[in-house]
């Protein structure tokens, strides 16, 4: 049986949800989400340090989606709409959890998995060196992505990037990424 995106999304939506969205990840959507989350963090009187971390990680998470979402075949577009992605921001005990998800074609799974595993195996100093190396040596893509988003998220949160790849059909997987930001920094 193929992975049920909607069931996954509704499960994520349990508990203390700050914001959730599923659908077309556009530049306008990103602006709106950032605005809403910023005002909610104000409401919560969150410390400026945590506020900034959440904001930064959210920008990178959403823009990773924006840059990497693939064109889906027509029958999938009909069901999910174009540039489909999901986002759920939850408050858990002692941490914020930012979950994102998007379809990814099978041939890209290994590269992404290896990249995340490599990032997760690195300590603070190694991540810093990796960030600086990519910053100084890799050019921006036409769309403006620079391959730095995940490294930056790992550096700023100091936590492991948790992920799963769920098989959707013969060509596509659904990639879920969970990022945690601790309250005590």
């Amino acid at each position: 049986m193929s992975f049920d995106v909607y069931e996954y999304y509704s499960k994520l939506n349990g508990g203390d949800v700050l914001m959730s969205f599923k659908g077309n990840i556009s530049s306008e959507l990103i602006s709106n989400v950032l605005e809403v989350v910023e005002s909610k963090m104000d409401e919560y009187n969150e410390s400026s340090k945590i506020r900034k971390k959440v904001y930064n990680v959210l920008v990178e998470s959403l823009q990773n989606l924006y840059h990497h979402i693939e064109e889906l075949p027509d029958e999938m577009n009909k069901e999910y709409g174009s540039k489909f992605g999901i986002l759920v921001i939850r408050q858990e005990e002692n941490m914020y959890k930012i979950s994102t998800g998007n379809f990814i074609s099978q041939d890209k799974v290994d590269v992404l998995r290896n990249k995340i595993d490599k990032i997760n195996s690195m300590g603070k100093e190694e991540l810093k060196d990796m960030y600086k190396f990519i910053l100084n040596h890799q050019r921006l893509s036409e769309k403006g992505g620079g391959g730095l988003g995940l490294v930056d998220i790992a550096r700023k949160t100091g936590n492991q990037l948790e992920y799963t790849f769920e098989k959707f059909d013969d060509i596509y997987y659904f990639f879920n990424l969970d990022v945690y930001i601790d309250f005590s920094q």
Partner: protein, 126 residues
């Protein structure tokens, strides 16, 4: 040469490049999805300025947020400044960060270790 002045938006910083005074300022948020377009005129302005720079160029960078797409473009701006500094002119980069914003301080230190221009880290205390 004509000054470059750009108003800030929710996703892009305000920019004031003044060739007469030798003061270059980037302030606010830099989080556009694609930063190349935004930073292109800045790099071009510096290219022209590098022909006849003042003896001292002061650079003030005061960013509240910047994304990784911008980080590469900011490096391009700094590389232009490095080229100016390599010549006869002096360049100083003042990197502002808010109190407790260790990530922003660290980001400045990353640039400082890549770019051969003196950096001054300045904490903004409220």
């Amino acid at each position: 040469m004509e000054a470059l002045s750009i108003e800030g938006t929710a996703k892009t910083p305000s920019v004031k490049f003044d060739g007469q005074e030798g003061v270059i300022e980037i302030k606010g948020r830099s989080i556009p999805e694609n930063s190349i377009e935004f930073y292109k005129p800045l790099v071009e302005w510096l290219e022209e300025y590098s022909g006849t720079p003042l003896d001292l160029t002061q650079v003030n960078v005061q960013l509240e947020y910047f994304n990784t797409s911008s980080s590469k473009c900011i490096l391009d701006v700094f590389k232009k400044l490095e080229a100016i500094h390599k010549g006869k002119s002096e360049v100083i980069i003042n990197w502002y960060y808010e109190e407790d914003d260790e990530d922003m301080l660290e980001a400045g230190e990353d640039y400082e270790s890549i770019i051969r221009v003196p950096f001054k880290m300045i904490e903004i205390v409220e």
